[in-house]
């Protein structure tokens, strides 16, 4: 699993969660919340979809790592790799 592949997975989840948003110009190093309308329930959606679709658990204390695409990739890529993905 490359970090770019990980970002693609997160973006696909966000596309379902925020279907009205234009995701073509999302800056990976900027907080997602600063670039689109995402509230706390939406972040819980990301956590839920990672759990449902990929079997990845994100403990509440680690939610901070889902702030931007870059931080998502840093945090999630090892988890995907640990699952042999």
């Amino acid at each position: 699993m490359t970090k770019d592949a990980c970002k693609k997975i997160v973006l696909d989840i966000i596309a379902d969660i925020a279907p009205d948003e234009d995701l073509s110009n999302i800056k990976p190093d900027v907080r997602l919340r600063d670039q689109m309308q995402l509230d706390s329930m939406d972040f819980l959606d990301i956590v839920m979809e990672l759990r449902k679709q990929h079997g990845i658990e994100v403990p509440e204390a680690d939610y901070i790592h889902l702030a931007s695409l870059d931080s998502c990739a840093e945090y999630l890529t090892p988890k995907f790799e640990a699952l042999g993905k």
């Binding site: 009205d20 309308q37 959606d45």
Partner: protein, 414 residues
């Protein structure tokens, strides 16, 4: 001490029914005999029939709004926005804390609960996969709350649980709140998302009360000998109600005036209706409206096409209207759209309000062989009837646990 209640008028109507997504379309289909029942797949039960609404939810909601909210919320938002548009209110100048939302529901939350249980069944019933949206989607005030969010209304917004009497109850409660001075404008009526829960179909089937017919459009047949139960439908109808002085001050179009009403309870059975209490409800509504039975020109029945329920309502109507009301026509709207549950009373009233202007009574369709036990005077069957006068419309809606509601709307006369 005497109390003269304020006159309350209807100034806007927004609706979605299985055979129309606006009042003109709905009315035209009622006059043309166009039913709106179709094949419908139900989880665990396969292909059944239902009344399905085909409004465009994206007219007033974002795709995210649709994903987060409920079907009942979508129906509510569509109807409320249409009612607002129809009312001609300059809503940006309206103090939003003086607006109330009162939405009747037969039930709420079953759809989302069934969906979530089905979803976690794919994960061996592990509840960590249960949606964090479950609670906001299933709270009983959800449909009213979604209108509040959509329109930025900060006044009271809640639902009224009254089984299938709920549509009338929305209007009645709104009129009461306007008269108390609690609000200046009310969005009120009823909604139902019921077709998206298998439970209501399965429940009626177990009760022997779910309609079947090879032609879905002929399945809902109140008063016909061959009737065999209820067609479950979704739908919604939201009205704007105002005090007359406010409506006149802004030159609003007025559909009619709340004439009188009654809500009572059978206190006799969980599901079986009580004709004595139904008749009492109608009589009390007449007293409340200061009218006699002969003053009513249209009675819109609740009849759902169950073998026993229709007979019992006819018994109640016969007891009140008898043979001494030659100018009273009696019809039924469920024969077109099935039973829209919490929306039924509000929708069925709306379908009849244009009679004030066109003096036509829409018929009960699908009556090929009238049940003699339902042969009450004044029934309008299968073809519309032109009448000389429509000044008062009486709308019946009854529900389980024995709740009855009768609402009378009068022609508006300044």
């Amino acid at each position: 001490m005497s109390f003269t209640p304020a006159r309350i008028v209807i100034t806007g109507i927004g609706l979605t029914a299985p055979n129309g997504n606006s009042l003109p379309e709905f009315r035209q289909n009622l006059l043309n005999g166009v039913a709106g029942v179709e094949p419908f797949d139900v989880r665990y039960m396969g292909r059944l029939i239902a009344g399905v609404c085909h409004f465009d939810p994206l007219r007033y909601q974002t795709r995210k709004g649709l994903r987060v909210g409920t079907r009942a919320g979508s129906i509510s938002i569509y109807c409320a926005q249409e009612a607002l548009k129809d009312s001609g209110l300059a809503f940006d100048t309206v103090p939003k804390d003086r607006v109330g939302i009162y939405i009747g529901c037969t039930e709420h939350g079953n759809v989302e609960t069934e969906n979530e249980i089905y979803a976690i069944s794919k994960f061996n019933y592990d509840t960590k996969y249960w949606s964090h949206y479950h609670n906001p989607r299933t709270v009983a005030n959800n449909p009213a709350g979604e209108i509040s969010l959509a329109l930025g209304i900060t006044g009271p917004a809640y639902t009224i649980g009254a089984a299938c009497a709920a549509g009338n109850m929305g209007l009645i409660h709104a009129a009461q709140m306007l008269r108390l001075g609690e609000v200046d404008i009310a969005f009120c009526g009823g909604v139902s998302e019921s077709i998206h829960t298998f439970g209501i179909f399965a429940g009626f089937k177990s009760q022997g009360a779910l309609a079947t017919h090879e032609d879905p459009k002929k399945a809902s047949r109140p008063f016909d000998k061959g009737r065999n139960g209820i067609v479950v439908s979704e739908g919604g109808c939201v009205y704007t109600l105002e005090r007359l002085e406010d409506a006149r001050a802004r030159g609003a179009k007025i559909y009619g005036e709340i004439g009188g009403y009654c809500v009572n309870s059978d206190a006799s059975d969980y599901v079986l209706p009580n004709p004595g209490r139904q008749a009492e409800c109608v009589r009390k509504a007449l007293v409340n409206a200061k009218l006699t039975a002969a003053d009513i020109h249209i009675v819109n029945t609740h009849a759902t096409a169950t073998p026993q329920g229709d007979i019992q309502e006819c018994e109640a109507i016969r007891a009140v209207f008898g043979t001494g009301c030659p100018d009273t026509s009696i019809n039924n709207t469920k024969s077109y759209i099935g039973h829209c549950m919490g929306a039924a009373g509000a929708l069925e009233l709306a379908g009849n309000l244009p009679s004030f202007d066109d003096l036509i009574v829409h018929p009960t369709i699908n009556v090929d062989d009238l049940d003699p036990a339902c042969a009450i005077d004044g029934l309008v069957l299968n073809t519309p009837k032109k009448v000389a006068k429509v000044d008062n419309i009486l709308n019946n809606s009854f529900g389980m646990l024995g709740i009855n509601s009768t609402l009378i709307v009068k022609r508006f006369v300044a």
